[in-house]
Amino acid sequence: MAITSLSNFRAALARSTPLYLSKPASPSGTYAASLLTPGKPVAMVTPTTSLARSLSTAGSLPIPGGALNGLRLLQATISTVAPGVVVLCDLLNYQGGLVANSVAVQTTNLPTAALTRSTDGAGVLVAVEIFASIGSGTTYTSTYVNQDGATKTSKSSQLISTAGGVKLMSFADGDTGARSVTNFTIATSTGTAGNMGILLFKPLVVLAATAWGGLTQQDAISGGLQLETIPSDACLFLLQSGGRRGTAISFNMAEDV
């Protein structure tokens, strides 16, 4: 249902539910996910078996579930230690147990479980997250099922060694997303097994935190926020660029009426 006027938007904002996320830190020089960082919401458990994730997963941002007419993100107020980009994402699938000291094809906890939202895979991105530090200087490829159900091999993507770091996988040319990941292979051993995992997620909103240690507020007026509809059972988390950023965000969401 459309919000048909500016006054209706303001009324929706007035009745919106503020949701708070606060995470104290993340690693430097890389994209990082908020999933395993303590704070509010609590840290997720480091994943092992591939599981589809939802609003009920501990560590998900507790949005009001079950909205009948669609839940919209109306406004975001962001405070970060340093400027950067903050991407609100829906975590679809999370697994772990991959290692960085073997060049064999890895299928531990793979293939990933079937998606329960965005099931066609279009716009679903794949990333590798480092749970326990690995050595440096290697790349990886994955076999995955694309948005059309075809099995593809990713382009080679570099891994970051720092725990907490996230690297996006590069799809084969022409692909727009993935339904699942089948296996994972590193090019050279880093000498340290560490622990890595694969997350499948859908970016929902890209927010720019433009102030040093200050507030950035974005809505449909200031910042041109797109008034995204949030899936009512979404497992929301943040993907951030850069580092050293304690982050606190207030999201204002409201159900269409």
Binding site: M1, A2, I3, T4, S5, L6, S7, N8, F9, S28, G29, Y31, R72, A82, P83, G84, V85, V87, G123, L125, K155, S157, Q158, L168, S170, F171, A172, D173, G174, D175, T176, P203, V205, V206, L207, A208, A209, T210, Q218, A220, I221, S222, G223, G224, L225, Q226, L227, E228, L239, S241, G242, G243, R244, D256
Partner: protein
């Protein structure tokens, strides 16, 4: 033209269906020179890496490398209302543009006129169009003058020059616009490009004609590991509505003002579009 006439119109368009969100993501190790721009046309990611052009063609949204969107239907028009992205480079300016025409396979060692030709299929009057020197494989290290012979929006033959090679642009993905002459509003057709002397290496370069749609700035972070972010909308930038023509070949370039050298760069962003 069905402009988004006021804030109520805009809010309604953003929530009334026919909205589209497109994710862009690119990653590669590229050479960054202060003030030189990098094209992401042939860089892997979302959208996928385009094949380097050979003969002159007019790409469309169906061309591999174009940012995905669907053409508007029902008599509506498509409007780009917001671009937001996080970039792993500091202090830069990004540009979303409609890639109208391109040719590759030109040589950095040929000093006679190299033919471009072709015909535009969008923005055919030339207004707002720029011609770019785009490098697909490194050319040589000798700095030379590239002279573009073109037809401007006034239907007059004209020339423009830039320096290429040397400490100017010479590496894969580097791209530089030719300046317009006084009184011109754009490029309607390109006849040829001529190098004043050999750059020393043939490489592979081409000429691209593009129509810039929206620019955005990446913040300066102050630390090498901190990265830029940007969010530009037609509201907070006080710009006008940006129409995306049917079949537009949307692409992106950015221009860093930091001395980054050879570095891995990746960005993740989103384009928000509505129809009216």
């Amino acid at each position: 033209m069905a402009l988004l006439t006021n804030m109520s119109d805009r809010v309604s368009a953003m929530t009334g269906g026919n909205v589209q969100t497109t994710i862009v993501q690119k990653r590669d190790t590229l050479v960054y020179i202060v003030g030189a721009a990098n094209s992401y046309w042939a860089i892997p990611g979302l959208p996928g890496a385009a094949a380097n052009p050979t003969t002159v063609t007019a790409p469309t949204r169906a061309t591999l490398g174009a940012i995905a969107f669907t053409n508007p239907t029902g008599g509506r028009q498509k409007w780009l209302v917001r671009v937001a992205l996080g970039a792993m480079i500091n202090s830069a300016m990004g540009t979303i543009y409609d890639r109208l025409l391109h040719i590759g396979g030109l040589s950095g060692t040929v000093t006679t006129a190299q033919t471009v030709g072709g015909a535009l299929t969008r923005y055919t009057n030339g207004v707002g169009n720029l011609a770019y020197f785009e490098i697909y494989t490194d050319i040589g290290s000798s700095s030379v003058t590239a002279t573009l012979s073109y037809t401007n929006d006034l239907n007059n033959a004209a020339t423009a020059t830039i320096r290429v090679g040397g400490t100017d642009i010479q590496n894969r993905s580097h791209i530089a616009p030719f300046p317009l002459n006084a009184g011109e509003k754009g490029v309607k057709a390109v006849t040829s490009v001529t190098l004043s002397s050999s750059t020393g290496t043939a490489g592979d370069f081409g000429i691209t004609v593009g129509h810039p749609l929206m620019t955005l700035t990446y913040g300066f972070q102050g630390f090498s590991e901190e990265r830029g972010s940007a969010a530009t909308s037609t509201i907070n930038s006080l710009g006008g509505d940006v129409e995306i023509l049917s079949d537009a070949c949307l692409a992106m370039l950015d221009q860093s003002f930091s001395s980054l050298g050879t570095t891995e760069h990746y960005f993740l962003g989103m384009l928000n579009m509505v129809e009216k």
